[in-house]
Subunit: 461 residues, 2 copies
């Protein structure tokens, strides 16, 4: 919902060309809030308002606008003006933005963007999606070892307004190899000794990521080492860029949403729920729903094999949903525990035997407990007047529950480990795939237990 509180005033100021008022509007509030108040304006109006903010602030407010509005501005305003403005945007943001602009407009804009920035855009957009290279920015504070603390301070003071982050200084040699790092905190602490060389103060043991690393690994490292920003290097340890804390937070949010979708078998969406076109959303759900539907069809085929058992013992049907859902729930719990533990590096592949042993033990405990409960629930259902037979007949239910729970927990634990072993994302083995598989296995177990424990239908009671 756009915030319309200031809209009339803003439009009036624009009509009267009230430069002071508009400048005041742009500077008084946090850039994100300024952007919120501009949501109701058209692309042209927003652009006119932004002209009253000086450059670093202008790009900052722009960065907080809705992506739809940003794209509209880029696509509809005068190419030359926009091209110049794009040159000022943070390198990582403008690449993400241009990726969503219609290609023919990008083709028109690119030649108008200043050479350095154009090359930077081309370089950055070459990195595959979801890698460190695609998330990093190329603007960071770069110093050489032989600079003194005093010189470095002056250099930073000059660049402070333009750089996205000034909280780490990266020390590189003449060939741009990353040699060390000095935090702003260290620089400030050393203010009393302005002649000390950076090389004597800097940290040499650095936490870095490779440009080809997956963004999830990057987030994991930043979280583990409590970093504000992490340097991105290539295989020869050349300094290519940095990834800052706010981008890491965005990556984590993105991954959390993706994981949630995956756990519900929805293909990832590019936009929000309401923004995604109904047919796109239907498609993204439909493909998986259909795959799962055909998977579930296998349970029908399996049951068909046992039609004669069912005909003889119709009461068995009552417990079909119970048996398969209990196995599915147990498998789902195991899969989620293992997937989460793998993704937080809480367990490694080498722990597989400990994991399997724990899961089997829990399966025995929980399966045993629910089997007992299930037995007492099954007793009144088994329609046999003679108690000794009834006691035996009802045993089908607890035996099935125990076996299904053991199978569920094993499948749930082993499949994610197997997927990781094969180099695939274990998260794909989350429910409802595991649940679907356990439905099928559960049915087969149930019917075979019934065949084994119950008198055959020809000689049935």
């Amino acid at each position: 919902m756009p915030n319309t509180l200031y809209l009339p005033e803003l439009r009036e100021m624009l009509a009267e060309n009230d430069a002071d008022g508009l400048r005041e509007f742009c500077t008084a509030l946090h850039a994100a809030r300024t952007a919120e108040f501009m949501e109701g304006l058209s692309a042209q109006e927003s652009w006119a308002v932004l002209q009253h903010a000086k450059m670093p602030l202008r790009t900052e407010i722009f960065g907080f606008l809705d992506e739809t509005k940003q794209l509209e501005m880029i696509e509809t305003l005068a190419r030359q003006e926009i091209a110049e403005f794009v040159g000022h945007l943070p390198p990582d943001d403008r690449v993400d933005l241009l990726a969503n602009v219609r290609p023919w407009i990008v083709d028109e804009l690119m030649p108008l963007i200043p050479t350095d920035e154009r090359r930077d855009i081309q370089r950055l957009s070459a990195y595959p999606e979801d890698t460190a290279g695609a998330v990093m920015t190329t603007e960071f504070a770069r110093v050489s070892e032989d600079l003194t603390v005093g010189q470095a301070q002056k250099r930073i003071a000059e660049q402070a307004e333009e750089l996205e982050t000034i909280y780490y200084l990266y020390v590189v040699d003449e060939e741009d190899h990353l040699r060390g790092l000095l935090s702003f905190r260290q620089l400030v602490s050393a203010m009393g000794k302005p002649d000390t060389q950076i090389g004597d103060l800097m940290e040499r043991d650095l936490v870095t990521v490779n440009v080809a690393d997956d963004q999830e690994e990057v987030a994991e490292k930043v979280a583990r080492y409590d970093l504000l920003a992490i340097p991105v290097v290539d295989d020869e340890h050349h300094m290519l860029g940095i990834i800052t804390h706010d981008d890491i937070i965005d990556v984590m949010r993105e991954e959390a949403v993706e994981d949630a979708y995956r756990s519900a078998a929805v293909a990832p969406l590019d936009e929000g729920y309401l923004e995604t076109h109904l047919l796109t959303l239907t498609w993204k759900r439909g493909i998986w729903l259909t795959i799962l539907f055909f998977g579930a069809m296998l349970t029908a085929l399996a049951l068909r094999e046992y039609e004669s058992v069912i005909e003889s013992y119709v009461w068995l049907v009552l417990f079909i949903p119970l048996v398969i859902s209990t196995g599915g729930n147990m498998g789902n719990q195991s899969a989620t525990l293992i997937i989460t533990a793998l993704s937080t590096a809480d367990i490694a592949l080498g722990d597989w035997w400990r994991v399997v042993r724990r899961e089997l033990l829990m399966g025995l405990l929980l399966g045993g407990f629910l089997a007992v409960v299930g037995y007492f629930c099954a007793l009144p259902a088994a329609p046999l007047p003679w108690w000794p037979t009834r006691l035996l007949t009802a045993m089908v239910i607890p035996v099935t529950i125990l076996l299904v729970i053991l199978c569920g927990t094993l499948l749930g634990a082993v499949l994610p480990l197997l997927f990781r072993r094969l180099g695939l994302d274990p998260a794909f083995m989350s429910n409802p795939f595991v649940a679907g598989l356990i439905d099928l296995v559960g049915i087969i177990i149930y019917m075979n237990v019934a065949l084994a424990l119950l008198p055959s239908q020809s000689g049935g009671l």
Copy 2:
């Protein structure tokens, strides 16, 4: 797995009391890596190594040690020494740590901790878990409006080593009301004008959180405004503390794991998968598994009501798992989409009608499609020789699929909205609760469709 690479060297240095070597070990690497190399040491050995690091570094390395090791050190080492050390730990970390130390040891330690720090611990531990107050630290750079840029720089240079974050200066009045904020970047940019007053430079439009706010809301705000740290205030806008970017990342990871567990009906764990005691884990899974088990028992009771239909048309049984799992999958997708959209503020409660309309439309599209597929799968199963009757009989399946999918999508979409409306966490309405409910509803729909469309069993073919 502990990193044992340096263990022999470390033990040798300890045995020989090699102060230079140990000092070198503590300072050469990133604190997190130093901590990794110490993992194989005992609590006593670790403590002896740490004595060779100066104070801010000592607490930093300690902060990266395993929590088990930290607790062991606190519980087994000389009380007086530890109490003094605890006084130097970051305020937020030591409260979290002491919460896990055995109470009688805390009682012994507390009187030995310096008065100011002891009061701070008591104050912080009074805030309820998962609120801003429980996550914040009380150490931050505090300045007054009438300080000049030059004075502020000097003040910060003195405090730089001790404060957890120096990237924002918080401007407060005499009564500690938060008046404004100056980023370090602004302070550095203003280095050329050392006589400017802080009050003239500071930002007055601040993004703050209340001390009682939920940590998820805090993370949401920090992400939206791209902040390094967010100030925490009380109802009278007194400045109480700050929450820094690394704590926000921890909160997000914690919440992501919690959401994953919730979506699989596992009660949140306090420790990792392998660290949690087997019986604790069994209990945390067992309570929900049992609740879901009794929920599933309702499907058995429901089916019992329709035993005569089943006896007449045993082939209906084949499609029970298919029908309920399809409804469950659809409901699960809807629930996940709506819960995610609610948590990312992509939709609000006011959008409920748009959501319901979209879900119904998608339900019609997907349900219609799968109904057609299901019809052709059901045709060979319905065991009737006369084709016209067969065509009609098999209609039970598509009609059921369409209705179950519509019900599933509606329940999945509406229940999270309803939970939000009631002030409860919508995430509780994720699968497998929705799935369990849809199992029950699906069975009832299926059997009633069968009753409506099939000739009654007494007059059956």
